[in-house]
Symmetry: C2
Subunit: 290 residues, 2 copies
């Protein structure tokens, strides 16, 4: 079964009635699995995370986005999180049995739909039409308040929709990105310098693993140091290898790992390597799971 | 999301046109995940394994069973596998977020439906109405050929449907059972006596773990010995603990584990323990998976 994941970020995190209306629009007749609906009042933002067959995910995303641009007026919006539109950013993430091309088709169909509703749309990540548009941070720089001017520049012409600022909806970014795994490992030490040494062993830029971004943080509540990582290509640089490296680097310094956290959605495929490495279950196929 | 698994065993494994008709009946308008359709010509038997929300699984099972009793005539049936009916045995297996009671309701609704179609039905395992009916082997003993007589006995009165033998459909067994994990561990030795020692360390009846059934087998093709196990309560006696015990018992005899096989469907919940034990990811929730 093909499974696609969508994370729809909308600029409303306070008015529960509106959030409920958006959820209803999303679920209308849909066969989707809602994984999380996370509203943040300070950010004034809600993230709807859901998965299902690509066609269902596309239709649900359209219904949700249409409702969001109807209900949210960006000209009144305040909130701590960077944002540029009522429907701010919508990544589609291939989960199972789905190619990047199929996911791109969904993102482009969604972008064209939103453009047709009169919302300026930019494609990012794997759907970017130019290298400067790969990164969400670059597209969103200046935020909503700057777009009336930013959009008049040739290099920031939208990929879909009107070539001019729309005060109510603002602009939307959509595209396809590879699933990240957010892995935090807590060490039984409050010595940040040890954490910084261990980060160097795994982080790509300091000679560690490709596809690992890492920082060391203090967690004062727990009196621990945390190695906070993003694994950007878990198939090539899997969870267990990074974990085992941190374990051996930590233990060689006379310190143990306290625990591990994996934050947010995790592609089930990322567990296949665990079955192989720890249980030697080389023939295991994730399709066996139910 | 509630997920229920059904394994519908029907007594037809040769006529592909009939098997296809049964599959179509199952899928008609349904939102089910087909995990496996396994036909065996020698057994003359097909197992349809599928999962989905309980209501969908019930409806799909009804459609499939109705079609099977229409298409299969047991009075002509031959095959190596023990059987008693066109729809032979239908276990429902709780997979996610579903209580035993909810699964029992589905099994009873299915049994009543089949009974209403004129098929004698027995409830087994967790749905059994008497201790003697817990085991499929006991109910099915004597097979189809003996049921014209067996059913006349008071103690083998069916739980649903007519109290008399029906030559075309035979009888059906349905119920609820806990998911098994079928775990085989292959050792780098061809000495069966080593395998037999190791089996003793894990098998409940010889002082090993509760909820583990195990035998040692020779695998002549691979020149290996296999420890073939069923874990009948993976929450209480988890995969990793049995694996680690076999690993240490094997290594203390100077032998290594070659590989592991997990056969058939695996409840995703069984992987939660792996995340906790090997990665120390104590907070992991299977709902994070997509």
């Amino acid at each position: 079964m093909k499974v696609l994941l969508a994370e729809v970020n909308v600029s409303e995190g306070r008015n529960l009635a509106l959030i409920r209306e958006m959820k209803s629009a999303l679920m209308e007749g849909a066969v989707l699995r809602i994984m999380e609906i996370n509203s943040d009042k300070d950010h004034n933002r809600t993230v709807f995370t859901f998965s299902g067959e690509p066609e269902e995910v596309l239709e649900g995303t359209k219904r949700l986005a249409k409702k969001a641009i109807e209900l949210i007026d960006m000209s009144n919006h305040t909130g701590a999180h960077p944002r540029m539109g009522a429907v701010d950013v919508v990544p589609f993430i291939p989960a199972r049995d789905i190619t990047q091309e199929e996911a791109l088709e969904v993102a482009k169909a969604f972008g064209a739909f939103l453009g047709g509703l009169g919302v300026p749309v930019y494609y990012y990540e794997d759907a970017a039409t130019k290298p400067e548009r790969k990164s969400l941070v670059d597209i969103r720089r200046g935020e909503y308040e700057s777009f009336a001017v930013k959009m008049t520049k040739e290099e920031w012409r939208p990929d879909e929709g009107p070539f001019e600022f729309v005060a109510k909806s603002g602009a939307t970014v959509t595209g396809v990105r590879f699933p990240l795994v957010a892995l935090n490992i807590n060490l039984r030490t409050d010595d940040l310098s040890v954490g910084k040494q261990i980060v160097k062993a795994v982080r790509a830029v300091t000679g560690g693993y490709q596809n690992v971004r890492a920082i060391a943080l203090e967690i004062p509540d727990k009196k621990m140091v945390q190695i906070s990582m993003n694994l950007t290509q878990y198939q090539k640089t899997p969870i267990h290898r990074v974990f085992e490296t941190i374990k051996s680097e930590t233990e060689s310094r006379g310190i143990l790992i306290a625990d591990t956290e994996i934050v947010g959605p995790v592609p089930v495929m990322a567990l296949e390597d665990l079955m192989k490495f720890y249980l030697r279950c080389y023939s295991f196929n994730m399709e066996q799971l139910y």
